[in-house]
Symmetry: C2
Subunit: 186 residues, 2 copies
Amino acid sequence: MAAVNNAMTADFLRSAYGGESMAHMRYLIWAELAEKEGFPNIGRLFKAIAYAELAHADNHFKVLGEQKGDFTVPAGAIFGVGDTVTNLQGGIDGELHEIEQMYPVYLETAKFQNESGAERAFHYALEAEKIHAKLFQDAQDLAKQGKDMNLDTVYVCPVCGYTEVGGPEDNCPICKAKSSIFKAFE
Amino acid sequence: MAAVNNAMTADFLRSAYGGESMAHMRYLIWAELAEKEGFPNIGRLFKAIAYAELAHADNHFKVLGEQKGDFTVPAGAIFGVGDTVTNLQGGIDGELHEIEQMYPVYLETAKFQNESGAERAFHYALEAEKIHAKLFQDAQDLAKQGKDMNLDTVYVCPVCGYTEVGGPEDNCPICKAKSSIFKAFE
Ligand SMILES: [Fe+2]
Ligand SMILES: [Fe+2]
Ligand SMILES: [Fe+2]
Ligand SMILES: [Fe+2]
Ligand SMILES: [Fe+2]
Ligand SMILES: [Fe+2]
């Protein structure tokens, strides 16, 4: 397993793990609420993106390596069980924070501290979140009109969380994994 | 949806949501590692208990109600990708912390502040964690001898996270839900 030498990078990996774990969980909850509200495809989008966040959490946890430890982890999270338009705004806000603030700083720190494992994990997450923000925005544009998405199969790369509607390509454009390992949400 | 009037109870619900979300995630990771190490039944136990933690996270999130908000959440978590004996010790340590320290204080606070929704969510989690600690200890006793568990179907109540090997009973002994809704891990 990989390991991390620098305390600041390790702190950021733990915080990112906390944030991704909570995002995974709230997207599953919002998926269930979207289905109940009559938006099964938006529900499926939430579930697919929840799985991408699981891949991010998994990467951050494993990069931290073998050393066992017990920590109080501060991590950003959005709360609220609202209607689907509101919950999608929560998704957009969370993704934009990660894209514009959190992951750029975490990635810069990992480079600065020569932590290549963390750099890869943060890079994967940052690139995937850009897609998530756009997909949630597309979903919200429709939900505001009371419409569900017209959503083809959603494919998610289990290595990096890359998320694609339709396709998939031969190889993951973020991490180059073979698309045969992508998880399909149909 | 339920709501919470007191800031301290709300803080504790958010922290418990963070802790349960991270526990859910690391148990899934440790499940995968147990399977790779040749302990498929211990892996299945980790997966079943991960699902119980999801039920706890779900309860804490929903009790917080409709109000949308963005928070930095401090929450306890254990890290480390080790062998299965070590990972089970992480599971035991985390569950014992919740049983002996975290949930008794959160439950006492919810009662003191007359927050009945939070009281129920904390009570469900506390009772389920007692079972989890014992199951992880049973698993570790065997893993230390290089043996997998001889594990019947594991049933988990999706309402409260009650976890039972074999059975199930007619009604959940913690929350009284019909056992027909239990999720089976076989
Ligand atoms: Fe993510
Ligand atoms: Fe995301
Ligand atoms: Fe990928
Ligand atoms: Fe729990
Ligand atoms: Fe537990
Ligand atoms: Fe129950």
